[in-house]
Symmetry: C2
Subunit: 683 residues, 2 copies
Amino acid sequence: MFMRALIIALALGASPVLADEGMWTFDNFPADALKQASGVEITPAWLDHVRLASVRLANCTAVFVSPDGLMLTNHHCVESCLGELSTKDESLMERGFIAGSPGAERRCATQLADVLVSMENVTVAVTKASAGLSEQAANDVRKKTLTALEQACEQVSAHAHTGKLTCQAVTLYEGGQYYLYKYKRYDDVRLVFTPETDIAAFGGDPDNFQFPRWSLDIAVLRAYERGKPAKVADYLKINFAGPQAGELVFVSGHPGSTSRLETLAQLEFDRDLLLPTTLLRTSELRGGYIQFSRGNQADMQLVEAPLNNLENGIKVRRKLLDALHDDAMMARKKAEEATLRSLAKPDGADPWREIESAANRERAIYLPYSFAENAAGFNTILFRYARLLLRGAEERAKPNTERLREFTDTNLPRIEQQLYARLPVYGEVETLTLSFSLQRMREWLGPDYPLVRRLLARESPEALATRVVAETKLYDADVRKQLWEGGKSAVNASRDPMLELARLVDGDARTVRMRLENEVEAPITAASARIAAARFKAFGTRVYPDATFTLRLNYGTVAGWVDNGAAIPPFTYLDRAFERATGASPFKIPDSWMKVKGQLDMRTPFCISTSNDIVGGNSGSPLIDVHGNVVGLMFDGNIESIAGSYWFDAAKNRAIAVHPAIIREALDKVYGAKALLAELGAS
Amino acid sequence: MFMRALIIALALGASPVLADEGMWTFDNFPADALKQASGVEITPAWLDHVRLASVRLANCTAVFVSPDGLMLTNHHCVESCLGELSTKDESLMERGFIAGSPGAERRCATQLADVLVSMENVTVAVTKASAGLSEQAANDVRKKTLTALEQACEQVSAHAHTGKLTCQAVTLYEGGQYYLYKYKRYDDVRLVFTPETDIAAFGGDPDNFQFPRWSLDIAVLRAYERGKPAKVADYLKINFAGPQAGELVFVSGHPGSTSRLETLAQLEFDRDLLLPTTLLRTSELRGGYIQFSRGNQADMQLVEAPLNNLENGIKVRRKLLDALHDDAMMARKKAEEATLRSLAKPDGADPWREIESAANRERAIYLPYSFAENAAGFNTILFRYARLLLRGAEERAKPNTERLREFTDTNLPRIEQQLYARLPVYGEVETLTLSFSLQRMREWLGPDYPLVRRLLARESPEALATRVVAETKLYDADVRKQLWEGGKSAVNASRDPMLELARLVDGDARTVRMRLENEVEAPITAASARIAAARFKAFGTRVYPDATFTLRLNYGTVAGWVDNGAAIPPFTYLDRAFERATGASPFKIPDSWMKVKGQLDMRTPFCISTSNDIVGGNSGSPLIDVHGNVVGLMFDGNIESIAGSYWFDAAKNRAIAVHPAIIREALDKVYGAKALLAELGAS
């Protein structure tokens, strides 16, 4: 299972195209090159249709598959929704969910579905506004300009025939280009179907990022508008026969983040600091979760979703670290930089060296930034609520363009959705995560670090965590709503202990954030833009930007690969899943399947390997044939694909999809979901 | 708190001497150079006296401080003994221990005390035996020769006036030299005094490897012979006034392991594989321990000692990793190799390149080796018992020189001591550690790896761990003794589930061990010996070998250092400990101290910083003045000292000792240990 944005991407423009490589924006898809290579013509109409059927979820991708707003995505993309809809007594993770009727479809409180309606290039406006300024001033003005552009876009759209759009500024090629992406947003998304986790994540963490594979990692959602299923003109039909080996296939989706065009100095920062420290913190928390859940089904359910998520992140980061320890690839990276430098001869000071200096400054402030501003020292959703309330009150009192970017008008509806959602929050789990994170903050910043001393001079991490989690009222969505709507005076008057904690931290957090923005982000942005310009000069537009969790299209073929001399075929089949089953999670096949085992066609294709270039965020993306039909549902990559964050290895990097045949087999024979099958056009 | 051997040292010979740097063997101490630099003459008699007063514990160093076998060492060196002597109802970690009378001194079941009586250079015999053979054959013959030499030495000593000695082969300069070290062994070691952990480890993990510091990390033991306190001719007196700033001081002790002379390829192996994987496993287990102990005093006590040990290891490895990410130091390392290569021109193929090839082979087998042979997949003392019994039965049936080296006659008494010791073993903790380690083995080797599949095809890691821990009888020292003494037939007949588990693993484990020995160890040993020869040729004998947990002496001065422009003075005082106390562990000052706070001299010196070059294993080493008196007790280094595994930074690397004045103040006013003080010559 892939994950969402792991690393802040700093796309710098791109090298010339390699086969199957490339996360292309829809307005720069290399249709000509593809036609030359394959004879297949991808038309503008095909591109528009696929784009408008593609959906961005809060953390993943989905695809419209019926005119009534039905969407296909991954089970692991709705795990948090399943957690929200579960209780201590009933786990939707464990038993799955089928809405017997439209009225039984259940809302995912913090989910949303965005459809990319149009893209506007605003590069000229942005670069003009910051021209001639110092790096820091330019960085400030750039942000204000982006906010102003978003605001104007949303105001215009509110009165246009499109209906109100959500407008988000997108930085491509790290300041080589700026765009406004305009989305139609559905904020009422409901759960229609998921299988049990035991089959959705069959193989669990051990099989994660492995192929051959047998995971029915699917979920069905539906977009609603004004309380009714949304009517959508653009949706894709499913071809349940699936693709052939060697067939040309496409993936449309939202790759979250890559760092392929970061400089060597930035990758070394990841290798030396970001990845190791994050891995240590998350591995420790993993141990805490596992022990918390030990031998107790009820406790296990409380941490199942966050633990899955954490384990996925650990696996990804382990392999990212392995990739960065590949000295040969790092040497190649260095050589590429030298080539680009000599080809493009950027003016003035060497931008690669400027980024190196900035990355060295970042090393010095990374830990305080991470603990205080990134709240790695305060790991609980209750603290995130508190900070949103505290900062939201302060920031909303300012003009839109003067605010921290996450509090601009464009972003407020999403914040309110999160604050108002009635999620189950379990005190014992929040105490666990908060106390682990406070402990590590004390260790890594040191007991005499001023912030640490202020918080922990008289209380142990455990005691502080226990107290504030026990006494806060921020569990209650009504309390949060009151505080949010009450603004500055309500928040200032509150003595809620979690708000008090957020208040105690906020000065330090804002200070270190400002240092990071001024001393690291500003010079890196300036230098990166110059590198992007150099790259455009050298390679023209046959380059693609790093992933930014915005819509991309790529092409590849249905193909396995060769591993240590052994050919891995591109399809798996149902029979082998039963052979691998042990009866215990994560290798347990659910009872619902065991009961009908005799009726199942054991030669049903299960999963597919393809050479498409995708990463986390592409989870739930449709695999599409040349006719624009869905022939698979992406949910993962092989272990070699993780290095795709840094570079694409065409020989080994493979994407993994659920085959549509197993979806039909399961919906039909295991789950008896006749109405759903009919809506999917399967009968 | 330092720790014992983290990494298998491969000492390659050494660079020319730097100030304060060097872990000198007693027969190669640079007395002339020291005299030239300081005017102080260190005589052979001084060296003999200090050596015979120095004691090697199972995992640390100690020093004789009375003619009746009294030894001073660190509290953290006796933690496992405190665990062994504690019960669920009474924790010696928590409340400390004072033997009111000699009869009340309590035996530490797995502790021992070795005194280095003499050292014999056997290089010629060893190199002759393996001359002209292939790398693999030479590796085998070398081991057999060392075993034969140990055996002959022990047989001779049994009939000599010295009494029976324990003879251990020591590889110095990675095959540049081989020695027989001959020890007088005390296997009856008893606990006399420890303070409470709250003051012994004041500051806990957050303050660990920090200075300024306030930890009374001391313990008093006594060696016994034939049931009576041992009479020792060589012991050191304590000078309770302590040293002056700038004073010349010595440390005699057993540094565990350094890698200063490993090649770049070996350090890269540590950086890329050994350290990150170990850190991830131990961080996860740390989270498990913390969660296990949460909010429950009784459970906390069960894991306190292993958790402290684990956290210390994590801190050490984190900083080792940071050190190896220092690209400038790695570049210097590379340059040094180039210099040595050009200076010494070793014959034949380039030994650095041969080591690089071997290290690359090691990368491929490291994980299976680590999980199967190193038992990282079977983390419980019960499995270690099972393997000792299983392999012990097989190996003892062979002639001494044909056995795995850890089962030679020299090593059997130590194995028997461990097997027969009646330690408390807590099933819930063993289930925790075993199940964590099985899970990680399944993840990292993959569910389809043959060994994993054999063990876990029908059982989850949790279920397997729970079952074998619940059903094994190896908790019982009598059962273990019976099986050990019963030999092969008894072991073969046993169906104990932990023995069955060890049996299931043993084939794979031995196979991967043999691969490691043949494909990695043999060529590295051969190449390293050639590098050592090259180094001797270039630098003569003014070099010191890497640490090997054998006795060394070094000199330095009482000195702080400059940190970010601020001078850190070399002494701390009692008053500041009270100022830093929070009332909660690890910043809690025990009640015993709070009660007498008014009587304490707040200006009593507490800890000392010196420039001596020490590492883990030196814990408990005496700090010695030129007169041979003890003026401090080493227990830690500053954070910069951790990089000392790879290189010595004279400007920043500092050792930390407990000041003798605080020892007297505590024994006198807090613990009222008058008899002990008298024996220490304090009154």
